[in-house]
């Protein structure tokens, strides 16, 4: 049997659950490099 078929996906760039500080990773709804919007705080 081919080794490729049971080959798992790479573990590289698999961030830990809940990680927020992944370099270069885009977080949906957030502009990269911008702090999260905090309503009412100036």
């Amino acid at each position: 049997p081919s080794r490729d078929r049971r080959r798992k996906t790479s573990g590289f760039d698999m961030a830990p659950p809940g990680a927020t500080a992944v370099p270069g990773a885009a977080i949906p709804g957030q502009i990269p490099g911008m702090p999260p919007a905090m309503p009412g705080v100036f």
Partner: protein, 126 residues
């Protein structure tokens, strides 16, 4: 380890600390997500190890020709899961160091640095 290892400023060899986690060790303690104690089938362990080895080899090969790749699959604390990769050229090791710093592998940060090890047969820490 109480021995002071000199950290070279440049080397053909990189050390990726604690990178390999045996299914028998690590955070799950041999228990799967359903709470069942996993029987360590030697074939499964071997497959797991080979997958890891291939994964690492493929990624590291992007940065240069690999002369030697050693993975510690020990379960003791000392050097547990350490990966040693020796590139043919020092610049390639440096490129890999730069490229992998700050990235993650399997949910954990990659911790890597140059290593003084050049001959793995001689590289026994006593």
């Amino acid at each position: 380890c109480s021995r002071l290892h000199n950290r070279p400023t440049a080397s053909q060899t990189l050390l990726l600390a604690n990178m390999y986690q045996s299914p028998d060790a690590g955070f799950h303690g041999g228990v799967d997500q359903h709470g069942n104690i996993q029987q360590s089938d030697p074939r499964k362990l071997q497959e797991h190890f080979e997958d890891f080895y291939e994964d690492i080899f493929e990624e590291l090969s992007k940065y240069g020709e690999i002369e030697n790749l050693n993975v510690c699959d020990n379960l003791a604390d000392h050097m547990i899961g350490n990966v040693y990769v020796k590139f043919r050229e020092e610049e390639h090791a440096a490129a890999a160091l730069n490229a992998l710093s700050g990235r993650f592998y399997a949910g954990r940060p990659i911790i890597l640095d140059f290593s003084p090890v050049t001959d793995f047969r001689e590289a026994t820490c006593r």
